[in-house]
């Protein structure tokens, strides 16, 4: 038991968990995409990735755990195959999750964090997200099967059929309301709303956390400066969400669950929603302890825990480590590599439009393509930066403190 706990602690107590999640996510997508076969080209790619993790992990210990866990999950999923969407398997998955949760609750450190009144809803949210993601993907899978078999999505079989609002809809709505009221009352009785010491401007609690739904942003702040993580990125998230219907011109998949007809949209959205949003919140809530250090779920939140946080800038990496010379004094020259990198990153869309993504460019039209690609690149900047930070301790790609402009 202790071994498993330590394993999980090591796994989650760093950005590995993020990498893990990203890879598993990619694998699931791939799985849905290609009816996941390890023997196919893509399958071999993922397999290779896992083996690479293990090999590198021989030198970087946490990465070894990551590789093992990753391979285990991958083989598990491959073994399950389409049965993953079987109701029975779903039920077992849920039971497994619940059991894991309740066994974990026996651990005092886990209990301390998970039973904090304000964290309880987030715990519930994890389960709700899991359940609903599974349901949605299952339905999509079934519909996709139907379509592949030449049928129509299940929802469409009923399109023309209309029911009276009274009583069907009204009744269920009322029942929902009653049940929800009961849930709210019981929840309120069982769980006391937190009230800590009176506000004290001179003593910050450790850790000082934003409300939980902003913890994703707070986690982003570790990797980006506030102007990016706190202002630009949130704005772009909202803008991006609002732009979805205008960028996505795929006429298929309107009004029913499906995956294959909209694999890119759903893939990107789920990555943003599940990994970059929900998972970061969960990380910020459960895995970030005093001094915003990473703590495994079974670790004691020791405020004295020391973690080396030595980071370097790209310019330092470039000039000092590579050329063994002090960074140039003029910031334009000093930051040239970083600026070039950023410009290069942002000029990927036109480059790709001429190459592999030409069909998207043609299908979507120039404006949609560029806006969509820009938003996508910005979204992917976060995981990229996270991986860079984790692997190379990279702090800033561009660091112009002269005008507070850091990326």
């Amino acid at each position: 038991m202790t071994f498993i706990k330590d394993f999980i602690n090591v796994l989650s107590a760093s950005s590995i968990s993020f990498l893990l999640l990203s890879s598993i996510f990619a694998f699931i997508v791939y799985f849905n995409l290609l009816d996941g076969q390890l023997r196919t080209k893509g399958g071999k790619l993922f397999l290779g990735l896992g083996i690479a993790f293990v090999l590198i992990g021989l030198f970087i210990r946490p990465l070894l755990y990551l590789g093992i866990a990753y391979l285990a999950i991958m083989f598990g999923l491959a073994h399950l195959g389409p049965r993953l969407w079987d109701r029975k398997v779903g039920k077992w998955l849920l039971i497994f999750m619940l059991a894991g949760f309740f066994v974990s609750m026996l651990d005092p450190n886990f209990f301390l964090i998970a039973a904090k009144p304000d964290n309880v809803p987030i715990g519930a949210m994890i389960f709700l997200l899991g359940i609903f993601t599974w349901i949605a993907l299952r339905k999509a899978y079934l519909n996709d099967k139907q379509i592949a078999a030449g049928g129509i999505p299940w929802e469409k079989t009923e399109t023309s059929e209309k029911l009276f609002v009274w009583p069907d809809l009204v009744y269920t709505e009322m029942l929902c309301m009653i049940l929800l009221t009961i849930v709210m009352i019981v929840w309120s009785i069982v769980l006391r709303a937190p009230l800590e010491e009176a506000a004290n401007p001179t003593s910050s609690p450790n850790p000082a956390k934003a409300p939980w739904y902003f913890l994703g942003l707070q986690e982003m702040l570790v990797y980006f400066d506030p102007w990016l993580a706190g202002v630009v990125l949130p704005t772009l998230i909202i803008v991006g969400l609002m732009a979805i219907p205008y960028i996505d011109t795929n006429p298929k998949g309107a009004g029913y669950y499906s995956f294959r007809e909209r694999k890119w949209e759903i893939g990107i959205f789920l990555y943003g929603f599940l990994v970059l949003w929900s998972f970061l919140i969960i990380t910020g809530t459960f895995l970030r302890g005093p001094n915003w250090n990473f703590f495994g779920p079974y670790e004691y939140w020791d405020p004295n825990k020391l973690v080396p946080l030595v980071n370097i800038d790209l310019s330092e990496f470039f000039w000092v480590s590579l050329f063994h010379m002090p960074p140039p004094r003029l910031w334009v020259i000093r930051e040239l590599p970083g600026i070039l990198l950023v410009v290069g990153y942002l000029s990927l869309p036109p480059l790709l439009a001429t190459g592999p993504f030409r069909r998207f460019y043609l299908k979507m039209g120039a404006t949609r393509y560029y806006v969509g690609a820009f938003l996508f690149l910005i979204m992917m900047a976060l995981p990229i930066k996270m991986v860079l930070r984790w692997l190379f301790n990279l702090k800033y790609i561009v660091h112009i403190q002269e005008i507070f402009f850091n990326i």
């Binding site: 709700l128 949605a136 399109t159 209309k162 029911l163 709210m184 506000a199 401007p201 102007w227 009004g255």
Partner: protein, 261 residues
């Protein structure tokens, strides 16, 4: 049993009952139509909906849940306003008194957990809408209204978070609002703000930047409390209510509760 039925008849046939529920028990299609059309509340619905629209397994009832939670928050929040004063002197002790002596101080629990639940529900609602592709034409605009409503929900929760005025509250708001300090060009510590100058005088400083506008001071203080209170109780609910009306209206007008068109 017969007496009961007579009583029921008596009630249902009385002038008072009839004046309130004009239609009577809607057991014919005509009455079913009239029941919905004749009631302000039910009138949010069309008379008939697509079958999938009534399926819990399809809609998850998350939009309705969010709306109902909004109503719960309105009622409990209104009640809490009777016992809560948004000043640094009283805010904390009033919340404490809700627990210590106020009758049904549990309203605070309902309000807080309702708020959390509402955020979760609104996310799941968005998730479902995306997964069923229900933002596609002609529903693009309503998706946008929904996104704004999501942001408003978060802001409602955020502004309410400060009101208990305990350590949890002010530090969460301190951390959360500090990001505004970094707004490019408008925040004290944002990029480019240092370039906005009149001679040697910086025009953007801690006393007039974006964060100042949000919290009404250089740091969280009495003005913030009052500001957040007004935003939480009046400003944001008004806007949200207005947008909700649009949202529901557009649901009907854009082809009913989502489903294939």
């Amino acid at each position: 049993m017969a007496d009961l039925r007579a009583l029921q008849d008596g009630i249902v046939n009385s002038q008072i009952w009839k004046s309130i529920f004009r239609v009577g028990i809607p057991n014919t299609n005509r009455k079913r139509v009239l029941a919905v059309l004749g009631s302000l509340i039910l009138h949010l619905h069309p008379v008939k909906v697509r079958r999938s629209g009534t399926r819990m397994s399809y809609t998850w009832c998350m939009g309705g849940t969010t709306f109902f939670l909004f109503l719960v928050e309105t009622v409990t929040g209104l009640l809490l306003m009777f016992y809560y004063r948004p000043t640094i002197e009283y805010a904390f002790t009033d919340i404490m008194d809700l627990r210590e002596q106020a009758p049904f101080g549990i309203m605070r629990e309902m309000h807080r957990w309702g708020a959390h639940a509402m955020v979760i529900a609104v996310w799941l609602h968005m998730f479902r809408v995306f997964m069923t592709g229900s933002y596609k034409p002609p529903r693009e605009f309503n998706w946008n209204v929904g996104v704004i409503l999501l942001v408003l929900t978060l802001l409602l929760s955020f502004t309410g978070y400060l009101l208990p005025w305990d350590q949890l509250a002010i530090w969460a708001i301190t951390v959360g609002s500090s990001m505004a300090r970094a707004t490019p060009g408008a925040g004290n510590e944002g990029p480019m703000s240092g370039l906005i100058k009149l001679g040697d005088i910086r025009l953007i400083h801690a006393g007039d930047d974006a964060r100042f506008a949000l919290i009404g001071g250089r740091s969280i203080g009495p003005a913030t409390l009052l500001r957040f209170y007004v935003l939480h109780c009046v400003a944001i609910p008004l806007v949200a209510g207005f947008l909700m009306a649009i949202h529901f209206w557009r649901v009907r007008k854009d082809g009913g509760i989502s489903g294939p068109l």
